[in-house]
C-alpha cells in the first residue's frame, strides 16, 4: 500500500528571481527511482515541504514532458513560503504529489485555446502552454490574455515575448497601474476580451487568477456565446493534505485538491462567489 504522506526530498538546482518576493525553484527529486517514475499533468500541484516548518500546496509550472525537473513559482506571503524564500540553490525541500486534476488538454485538442490569467495565476497555466506549443499542429489558434497590477508583477516576460512571436498566437497584456515603460493595455484583463476575436463554438477557455477576475470574466465570455462547459478555472482554497481528507479545500460538494484545482465552470457556477463557500 502506498503511503500518500511520505515526503520525498528534492534539491533546489536553481533559484530564479521572477519579481519582488517571487522566485521559481527548479527542483530535482533526490531518490533516483522516484525521480524516474514521477509523472505529472499541467495544472496539477505538489505539497512543497520545508524541514521543521511544514507544507504548502504549490502548482507545478514546468513542462510535463520534462518530469525529471519540477518548477514551482512561489511568492513569499506566508509562514512556509517565507521559509522557502530563505533557501538557496543546493538546499533541499520536500515534495509530495502530484495531486489534483490538471487542465483539459485532451479535450482542447482541435480547438482554439483562450488563456486568461491574472497576477501569479499565470503560473499554473505555463505548463499547459508549453505542452500545447510542443504539439502546436494539434491545436487551433492560441490567445493568451494576462493582467497584472503593475509592470513589476509581470513574470516570465521573455516567455510572453517568445509566445507572441509564435504563429497563430496572440499575447495581450494589461496593467491596472502601469508605469512609463508599459506599452500594452491599461486596465484590467477582462477588458482585453474586446480586443480579440473569439469563435465561441470552437474555443476552450483556461482561466486562473484572483477569484474576482474569474467571476467577472466568465459572464462576459458567456455573453460572447462561449458555453459554460468550455470554460475551465483553476481554483484555490486552503489545502493541507492534497488527497481530499483534511476538509479545508471544500467548495460546495467539491474537494478542490482532489476534484480540482481545475474545475469546469458549470460545475462550480453555483458556488463561485457565494459568501463563505
Amino acid at each position: 500500500m502506498t503511503n500518500p504522506y511520505v515526503i520525498q526530498p528534492a534539491t533546489i538546482v536553481e533559484k530564479i528571481r521572477e519579481a519582488e518576493h517571487i522566485h521559481t525553484y527548479r527542483l530535482q527529486l533526490v531518490d533516483e527511482e522516484v525521480r524516474r517514475t514521477f509523472r505529472f499533468k499541467a495544472g496539477q500541484f505538489n505539497m512543497v515541504y520545508v524541514f521543521g516548518v511544514g507544507e504548502v500546496a504549490i502548482s507545478i509550472v514546468s513542462d510535463p514532458d520534462e518530469p525529471e525537473f519540477l518548477n514551482h513559482t512561489i511568492r513569499a506571503v506566508g509562514r512556509i513560503t517565507k521559509a522557502i524564500a530563505a533557501l538557496q540553490s543546493g538546499d533541499v525541500l520536500g515534495i509530495r504529489g502530484p495531486f489534483g486534476q490538471g487542465w483539459p488538454l485532451d479535450e482542447a485538442r482541435g480547438r482554439n485555446v483562450v488563456i486568461v490569467t491574472g497576477g501569479l495565476g499565470c503560473a499554473p497555466v505555463v505548463g499547459a502552454i508549453e505542452y500545447i506549443f510542443k504539439r502546436r499542429e494539434q491545436y487551433g489558434s492560441i490567445k493568451i490574455l494576462h493582467g497584472v497590477k503593475t509592470p513589476h508583477d509581470l513574470l516570465y516576460r521573455e516567455r510572453f515575448d517568445q509566445w507572441r512571436r509564435a504563429p497563430d498566437t496572440e499575447v495581450l497584456l494589461a496593467s491596472g497601474q502601469p508605469d512609463k515603460t508599459w506599452s500594452y493595455h491599461i486596465g484590467v484583463v477582462t477588458e482585453l476580451f474586446e480586443e480579440v476575436a473569439i469563435d465561441p463554438m470552437k474555443s476552450i477557455v483556461l482561466m486562473c487568477g484572483p477569484e474576482i477576475m474569474m467571476r467577472l470574466g466568465v459572464p462576459i465570455l458567456m455573453r460572447r456565446g462561449i458555453p459554460e462547459t468550455a470554460i475551465y478555472l483553476s481554483l484555490e482554497r486552503h489545502m493541507e493534505c492534497g488527497i481530499g481528507l483534511c476538509g479545508h479545500c471544500q467548495m460546495g460538494p467539491y474537494f478542490l485538491c482532489k476534484d480540482g484545482p481545475v474545475m469546469r465552470y458549470d460545475r462550480v457556477a453555483q458556488w463561485l462567489g457565494q459568501t463563505g463557500v
Binding site: N3, I7, V277
Partner: protein
C-alpha cells in the same frame, strides 16, 4: 454462517465475555465513569463498567445518575464516539531526520493493536462506517486509519432507552445495530441476548457455549428496540436534502443561529463523522529531527478557511453554515449519504444548546417569524 448466530448470557456471567476477549489477545475498552461523564477506558472486569448509571442528555446538558440497579449498559453514550480509535486525535505521520545531504522521511504507522470495544451504539457504528468510507474507500486509502481499523473488534449494544437528544430512528441508523459489528448485545432484566455479526464474532460466541436464546427472548428484544425508536422525541427530515439546504444559503436564520453559536468547536469534536484535520510540525530543540503529525481540526476555527491574505469564512455565521451545510447536504454529494447519524452529541455538548433538528426545519421554512427569534434570544 456469520450472522444469525446468537446466545443468551445471564447478566451475572458477563465477565465470561470479557475473559474470552482477553484470551483472544484483545485489550478491552468500555464505557467508564470519569468526571461526571462516561468515557472510553481500558476495562478488565464488569465492575469497571458503569453499573447502575444512567445518562440524561438535553441541549447543552449532560448528567449521570446512579440508579442502584444492576444494569450494565444503562448509559447510552458519552462525548466520545468510536472515531478516536481509528482517526486518532493526534497521529504522527512522518518522522524526518536531517542528514548531510538534506533529510530523510520515514512514515510512522501505528503499531498494530487488537482492541475490543464493548458498548458501541448503532449510531456509533454508523459513524464508523461513514469514516471508513472517507478514509478507506476514496481515491486515497489512509494507511494510518487502516492500521488502527484492522485490529478493532466491535461489541455493539442495542439501545432500549432513547435519550432526549437521540434521533437515530429518523436517520435510519439505529437504535438497533444492523451491521458493522462483531457481536451485538441487548441487555434485558437478567440476561443479555448476544448476536454475532462476523466470523470473528461467531468464533467468540461459540467459545462461550451459551444456550441459544429463545424466540420469545428475540421477540422481547425486538419489542424493546422498537419501543426505543418510537420514544425518540427528536427527528430530522432529510428528504429534501441536499438541494433544499443549498437553496437556503441566504436564509435569515443563519444570522440568528450565529448570534448564539460560540464557535467553540465542541460539536465537531464530539461528532462521530467529522474528519477535518490540520497538520503540525514539531522540530526538536536540536533542529535535527522533526515530527509531521495530523490533529483533529474544526471548521469553526479562524484558520480553517484561511488562504494567503484572506479568510474565506471570517464570521461565525459563515462557519456554522459551512458545518451544517456540509454535514447535512454536501456530504450526500461527496459520499452518497448524510454526514449525520442522529447520535445527538452536537446538541448535548453545545454549551448553548444549539439543536440541528430545530435549525434545519427553520432554515428550510420559507420565512421566519420575528417574534420567535426574539423569544429564543431572550430565553437564553
Amino acid at each position: 454462517m456469520t450472522s444469525g448466530m446468537r446466545g443468551a448470557l445471564p447478566r451475572g456471567d458477563l465477565q465470561r465475555l470479557l475473559d474470552a476477549l482477553s484470551a483472544k489477545g484483545y485489550r478491552i475498552v468500555g464505557p467508564t465513569v470519569r468526571d461526571g461523564a462516561v468515557v472510553w477506558e481500558t476495562v478488565r472486569s464488569v465492575s469497571d463498567l458503569p453499573v447502575g448509571w444512567r445518562d440524561h442528555q438535553e441541549p447543552g446538558r449532560y448528567r449521570l445518575e446512579q440508579t442502584g440497579s444492576q444494569e450494565v449498559f444503562g448509559v447510552v453514550h458519552g462525548p466520545q464516539s468510536l472515531k478516536q480509535f481509528v482517526f486518532a486525535p493526534r497521529e504522527p505521520l512522518v518522522q524526518i531526520e536531517r542528514s548531510k545531504d538534506g533529510f530523510s522521511a520515514r512514515p510512522t504507522l501505528p503499531q498494530p493493536e487488537k482492541v475490543a470495544v464493548i458498548g458501541a451504539r448503532a449510531c456509533d457504528l454508523a459513524g464508523l462506517a461513514t469514516q471508513d468510507q472517507i478514509f478507506l474507500n476514496g481515491a486515497y486509502r489512509d494507511p494510518y486509519y487502516a492500521a488502527r481499523r484492522e485490529g478493532l473488534f466491535l461489541v455493539a449494544v442495542n439501545c432500549t432507552r432513547a435519550l432526549n437528544t437521540c434521533f437515530c430512528a429518523s436517520m435510519e441508523t439505529g437504535p438497533r445495530a444492523k451491521h458493522g459489528f462483531d457481536l451485538a448485545l441487548t441487555e434485558l432484566e437478567d440476561q443479555l441476548l448476544i448476536e454475532a455479526g462476523s466470523e470473528a464474532g461467531c468464533d467468540l460466541l461459540s467459545n462461550l457455549c451459551l444456550s441459544r436464546g429463545s424466540e420469545q427472548l428475540s421477540a422481547e428484544v425486538a419489542t424493546r428496540v422498537d419501543a426505543c425508536a418510537q420514544s425518540q422525541v427528536r427527528r430530522l427530515d432529510h428528504s429534501r436534502l441536499p438541494q433544499a439546504l443549498y437553496d437556503a444559503h441566504e436564509h435569515p436564520r443563519w444570522d440568528e443561529v450565529a448570534s448564539r453559536c460560540l464557535a467553540c468547536t465542541n460539536c465537531t469534536m464530539v461528532c462521530p463523522t467529522c474528519f477535518c484535520h490540520t497538520v503540525e510540525e514539531t522540530p526538536d530543540l536540536s533542529y535535527q529531527h522533526t515530527t509531521h503529525a495530523r490533529l483533529w481540526d474544526s471548521c469553526f476555527t479562524q484558520e480553517h478557511g484561511y488562504i494567503h491574505g484572506k479568510n474565506i469564512r471570517p464570521t461565525i455565521k459563515d462557519r456554522y453554515r459551512m458545518w451544517l451545510t456540509h454535514k447535512l447536504a454536501s456530504w450526500i454529494d461527496q459520499f452518497g449519504a448524510s454526514g449525520c447519524v442522529g447520535c445527538g452529541r452536537c446538541i448535548t455538548w453545545c454549551p448553548v444548546g444549539i439543536d440541528l433538528t430545530e435549525e434545519l426545519p427553520a432554515l428550510l421554512s420559507p420565512g421566519i417569524q420575528p417574534s420567535i427569534v426574539r423569544q429564543r434570544v431572550d430565553g437564553m
